[in-house]
């Protein structure tokens, strides 16, 4: 790990608190379970991470009933791909049930789940098309990315949701850009760019500093500047 790897970013440092909470919470797990949980949480997509964090809010909410808490925890395990995919269909049903539960909890969460559903469908379809076009069997693809053939089958049947790491490996193995498999990898990058644009403590480049310090070039609005009537 290089020195520059650990950036002294105040926004990120402010989030240390919640990271510490998650670490503390997982202390009650067995060592292998804890490693598996934390590993999966780090590796999953930003979307899945957001869903997991919203569900952890449900888990720790004192108003949550024990039954709700259990279902929220099951949903987290599903989202992070921590439950075994042994019997055909069974996992898919559990996933569907827990997603329906998660969706019922909050509107934004429902949107996230719907969004992931649409992405997943596109993913399975594109993966199928690419494998057909390149005449690659499930076994060959599994060998190339170092997973089992049933795992590929499950992704194609949408039984298991792929993690970002898996998408990147698949893209490499199929020699395509990751966004051909998961269009929203690009959307996620764009949203990251927007978030970083808003961050405090950004240090301007020389070009930005020159432009903002240029007293001779104060470009004023050229359109009618007027607040719109507010409607509550």
């Amino acid at each position: 790990m290089s020195e520059t790897f650990l950036l002294d970013d105040p926004q990120a440092v402010a989030r240390l608190d919640s990271v510490a909470c998650i670490l503390e919470w997982t202390r009650s797990m067995s060592v292998p379970d804890r490693k598996r949980f934390l590993g999966a949480l780090v590796e999953c997509s930003d979307d899945v991470q957001r869903v997991v964090v919203s569900l952890l809010d449900v888990v720790k909410d004192p108003r949550t009933t024990p039954v709700e808490r259990k279902r929220a925890l099951m949903t987290i395990a599903d989202a992070l791909f921590l439950n075994p995919c042994e019997e055909d269909g069974q996992y898919g049903q559990d996933l569907a049930a827990s997603e329906a539960y998660a969706a019922a909890r909050s509107a934004p969460l429902a949107l996230e789940v719907r969004k992931m559903d649409a992405q997943e469908e596109t993913f399975a379809q594109r993966l199928r098309e690419l494998m057909a076009a390149k005449q690659i069997s499930q076994q060959e693809l599994a060998d190339r990315i170092g997973c089992s053939q049933p795992a590929i089958s499950q992704m194609l049947r949408r039984v298991c949701r792929p993690q970002k790491r898996t998408i990147l490996r698949l893209a490499e193995a199929l020699n395509v850009h990751p966004r051909e498999l998961w269009p929203d990898i690009e959307v996620a990058d764009m949203l990251d760019a927007v978030a970083s644009f808003q961050q405090d403590d950004y240090t301007m480049t020389a070009a930005e500093a020159t432009a903002l310090a240029d007293a001779a070039n104060k470009n004023r609005p050229k359109i009618r500047v007027k607040s719109l009537p507010v409607r509550p």
């Binding site: 969004k115 959307v187 644009f197 950004y202 070009a207 930005e208 004023r220 409607r231």
Partner: protein, 190 residues
């Protein structure tokens, strides 16, 4: 009586997300994330750090678009290192079917929306002028370098590209001077 194409600003809240299913600002590489920003958790994160967000509706309560306005503290490069507050538009978008509407440029939705955001930014500038810092004096926004239509529109509004700057994912930054705002009714003719 209000003009047929008068837009209204509605302060955005989390509850509005339920009304925004299917809201899309277009399918170009630089548009797809705009609707997602508003429908997902990004808008809520932005509000938490002080951003104001409005939905813009017609008299018939159709959602035409949305806009946001916040501030950020940017540091001058070393050795100076002191910081300056700037106003910024994290995200603004118009539903795809309202692009270029209405034909009358006087009431064009895009201009009404940007006119509103600039007016609100000027209010921040006016409030700042009463303090010692006189900040913010600049309003900035970020746009994808290949989004020529948006860049042209922002230029028509008065924004200028900051040359030689490229932010993450091929984004360029544009600036507008808001430091001379005088009163609420200030109108600069085009």
């Amino acid at each position: 009586m209000a003009h047929l194409h008068q837009l209204y600003a509605v302060p955005f809240t989390e509850a509005d997300q339920a009304r925004l299913v299917g809201f899309s600002c277009g399918e170009e590489p630089w548009s797809r994330h705009v609707g997602e920003w508003l429908r997902g958790s990004d808008v809520l994160d932005s509000i938490k750090r002080g951003t104001r967000v409005w939905l813009f509706e017609t008299a018939a309560k159709e959602i035409v678009g949305f806009g946001s306005l916040g501030t950020s503290r940017w540091n001058w490069p070393p050795p100076d290192g002191s910081s300056v507050t700037i106003a910024l538009i994290p995200m603004v978008g118009i539903e795809a079917r309202f692009h270029g509407q209405p034909p009358d440029p006087e009431w064009r939705y895009s201009r009404q929306i940007m006119g509103h955001l600039i007016a609100e930014a000027e209010k921040l500038a006016l409030a700042g002028a009463e303090k010692a810092t006189h900040e913010p004096q600049w309003l900035v926004l970020m746009v994808h370098r290949d989004n020529a239509r948006a860049i042209r529109f922002y230029e028509q509004c008065g924004f200028e590209l900051i040359p030689g700057v490229e932010r993450r994912n091929n984004h360029v930054v544009m600036k507008l001077w808001i430091g001379d705002a005088q009163t609420d009714s200030t109108v600069s003719a085009s």
